[in-house]
């Protein structure tokens, strides 16, 4: 009876395969972007005890301010955040002075007119363009994305089986890895590859062979005061770390609390194991 059943099932499966295989076409698979997967970098904020490197965030902010902010907005980050715990660690006074160097339109005042005033710590980072259309018009039709969440909004698929391993040994730094790779990945297009007018070849770009953003970084474009090497790679890493902080400002608090919660749960589970064993003692099951 059983053998008959297995034979029957095998026949059904074979028939199914044969049927579907005939429908299958051996079409060429589309090219996957990015052409090159980003390299894994070392980050101070990776792992269970990870936390942001304050000096790195400060340098990253400097790179953002001097380079990125001329095209990219960062609407969700407020100046006061620079003084928040687990952030770049500016003093409140420094934030006040910094914010006041940018103007913002406020109003209407009692006369019904809009007016300009210096930014306060409670105001957001300024946007380089008044609206998205102006940003597109100034950048050859491409919209420079807002950078507030970019480090969490970009992740290159790792594919099977990596995503399974990533579940057990947390890897949540795809975003900064990608940004670093992108910023340092510009190169001349290989023989035979045509890139569209006004775009730049970058095999690390997640959405095509080339992008409209010109290579933004080069050695010595930003002056560091703390003696950190002024290389393109260092800038890319620093600004990636800064963008990660901008996207996930409470990472330090999260990992710290996580440690306490996990410790508590493990001890509690241990006690409960002994309770359960005690309760079931002498009861075969």
């Amino acid at each position: 009876m059983t053998a008959k059943m297995i034979r029957w099932a095998a026949a059904a499966v074979a028939a199914g395969i044969a049927l579907t295989a005939t429908v299958a076409s051996a079409e060429e698979k589309a090219v996957e972007f990015p052409l090159l997967k980003p390299a894994r970098q070392e980050w101070s904020f990776a792992g269970f005890f990870g936390h942001y490197d304050q000096a790195q965030l400060q340098r990253g902010y400097q790179v953002y301010k001097d380079v990125c902010s001329s095209c990219h907005s960062m609407k969700l980050v407020k100046f006061r955040n620079l003084a928040d715990e687990g952030g770049p660690g500016f003093t409140e006074d420094a934030v006040k002075v910094l914010a006041a160097t940018y103007a913002i339109e406020d109003g209407p005042n009692d006369a019904g007119e809009m007016f300009e005033r210096p930014r306060l710590p409670s105001d957001a980072f300024p946007s380089p363009f008044p609206n998205d259309n102006a940003a597109r018009a100034a950048n050859g039709g491409a919209l420079p994305p807002d950078l507030s969440l970019i480090a969490k909004a970009r992740a290159v698929h790792r594919g099977f089986p990596w995503f399974v391993f990533d579940m057990f040994w947390p890897y949540q730094e795809q975003g900064p890895d990608y940004i670093t790779a992108l910023l340092t990945g510009y190169q001349d297009p290989p023989e035979g590859v045509e890139v569209p007018e006004g775009t730049y070849y970058n095999p690390h770009f997640i959405n095509g062979v080339s992008l409209r953003m010109p290579p933004p970084l080069d050695n010595d474009v930003v002056e560091y005061s703390d003696g950190t090497p002024q290389t393109k790679e260092q800038y890319a890493k620093d600004v990636s770390a800064f963008l990660m902080w901008a996207a996930e400002p409470h990472l330090d608090a999260r990992k710290e609390l996580g440690l306490k919660v996990m410790l508590y749960l493990f001890v509690f589970a241990g006690i409960l194991y002994f309770v359960k064993r005690q309760v079931w003692r002498g009861t075969a099951h």
Binding site: M1, T2, K4, M5, I6, A9, A12, V13, G16, I17, T20, A21, V23, A24, S25, A26, E27, K29, A30, F33, F48, L76, N81, S148, L149, K152, A153, R154, F160, D166, M167, P170, Y171, Q172, Q174, G175, N207, P249, H250, A253, R254, K255, L257, G258, L259, V261, M262, L265, F266, F268, A269, L272, Y273, V275, K276, V279, W280, T283, A284, H285
Partner: protein, 430 residues
């Protein structure tokens, strides 16, 4: 709720209360004296884990609703202000977002436990169907919740899912317009989804009460799948089941905390950190992981079946894949409940489990991806999806009905107590 009650109020206040509202008796009979089979394994603790998750989702959800704004212009920003400015907002949102995934992990384990041990078989048909209803409500709640942050995946997920209805001939388009309250997904859609997302958990809680009620009428199934014969087969719920449930709930929390604290975005999609943009669809849209098997089934039907075009066929197959669960009590013709005593069923079941995981994986890749670069197996994903879909339905519609007639089950033990004694006897000889 079943049988006679053993509750005796001890204090004067207890007696006074008992005569007016016997709610303590109800709790006592449900959670203290209720007899549970003594051979239940850890898989039976997932009911308790699910109850815990429902409470966690409702509590965190109510809190999030205090800060969330269901307006398409500011919904995305309001979620970000929860993440950045609200005290502990990041924790509560990550608990809620990952809580949905944990809820589904637990419910899938719960369902597969029922499938293996035949918990859907008489007299537990109503219990099982109530469970299927809870599962459906959960899927609706999860889908609508995913729309609320108003990211790219929210928006395009809502667009794709509501487009299911356009597959229906004639009435499809008007129904879709009615559901989303416009000609495309927009503010009206977001508002009604928020309203319903708030409502559904309470409906779920209501059906859970019925589910537990039904459970207490017919009693729990057990790994042997045989009926409880005498008191020797059972232990009282408290402290036996409670001590075990609480331990496993805490162990489950460790798993939950692992995601919340160390990889809160692992189960989400990066595109949902980009605000919804009706002008551009993300390159590769996928639903949340818990819908992936059904998504694979939807995409597997890329051919017309007679008068049914591929679009309607896909939608029907997808809903059919869930609906078929409700008919399971009558599709499985075997007299034996537990898979332990069914040698062929066991093979078919495990194959079904692997197949379901595989369907999930297929739902996450592009339909034209080549999965195995091995000559002879280098088919596109959609071909594998067709095969997997075929097995998914064959399991319910062919294998289970036929097996009942041709399979010869192993002999069943006389009672739970006998089985336990037989198991523990050799070891006690040492």
């Amino acid at each position: 709720m079943s049988g006679h009650s053993t509750y005796v109020p001890r204090t004067a206040l207890g007696k006074w209360f008992e005569a007016r509202l016997p709610v303590v008796r109800l709790l006592h009979d449900t959670a203290v004296s209720y007899p549970t089979p003594r051979n239940l394994n850890a898989l039976w603790t997932f009911g308790g884990i699910l109850a815990m998750m429902l409470v966690v989702q409702i509590v965190t959800g109510i809190v999030l609703a205090m800060h969330y704004a269901a307006d398409s212009r500011i919904a995305f920003q309001s979620v970000e202000s929860i993440m950045r400015d609200v005290n502990w907002g990041w924790l509560i949102r990550y608990l809620h977002a990952n809580g949905a995934s944990m809820f589904f992990i637990a419910v899938y384990i719960h369902i597969f436990r029922g499938l293996y041990y035949g918990s859907y078989k008489p007299p537990r048909e109503i219990l099982w169907i109530l469970g299927v209803i809870i599962y459906l409500l959960m899927m609706a709640a999860a889908f609508m919740g995913y729309v609320l942050p108003w990211g790219q995946m929210s928006f395009w997920g809502a667009t794709v899912i509501t487009n299911f209805f356009t597959a229906l001939p004639i009435v499809g388009q008007p129904i879709q317009t009615l559901l989303i309250g416009g000609f495309s997904v927009d503010n009206a859609t977001l508002n009604r989804f928020f309203s319903l997302h708030y409502l559904l958990p309470f409906l779920i809680a209501g059906v859970v009460v019925l589910h537990v009620w039904a459970l207490h009428v017919v009693g729990q199934n057990n790994p042997l799948g045989i009926d409880v014969k005498s008191e020797k087969d059972t232990v009282p719920f408290t402290p036996y089941a409670t001590s075990k449930d609480v331990m496993w709930i805490v162990l489950f929390m460790i798993f939950y905390g692992w995601f919340v604290f160390y990889q809160p975005n692992f189960l989400g999609h990066p595109d949902n950190y980009i605000e919804a943009n009706p002008l551009s669809t993300p390159a590769h849209i996928v639903p949340e992981w818990y819908f992936l098997p059904f998504y694979a089934i939807l995409r597997a039907i890329d051919f017309n079946i007679g008068p049914i075009d591929s679009k309607l066929g896909g939608v029907l197959a997808m809903f059919g894949a869930i609906a078929v669960l409700a008919f399971l009590p009558w599709l499985d013709t075997s007299k034996v409940r537990s898979g332990r005593f069914r040698p062929i069923f066991k093979v078919a079941f495990w194959l079904f489990g692997v197949n379901a995981l595989f369907l999930g994986y297929l739902g996450s890749v592009k339909t034209d991806d080549i999965l195995f670069h091995v000559p002879g197996l280098d088919y596109q994903a959609v071909v594998w999806a067709k095969l997997s879909t075929f097995y998914y339905f064959a399991y319910f519609l062919v294998i289970l009905p036929v097996l009942g007639y041709i399979e010869k089950p192993k002999p069943l033990p006389v009672s739970i107590n006998d089985a336990i004694l037989a198991k523990s006897a050799p070891s006690s000889a040492h």
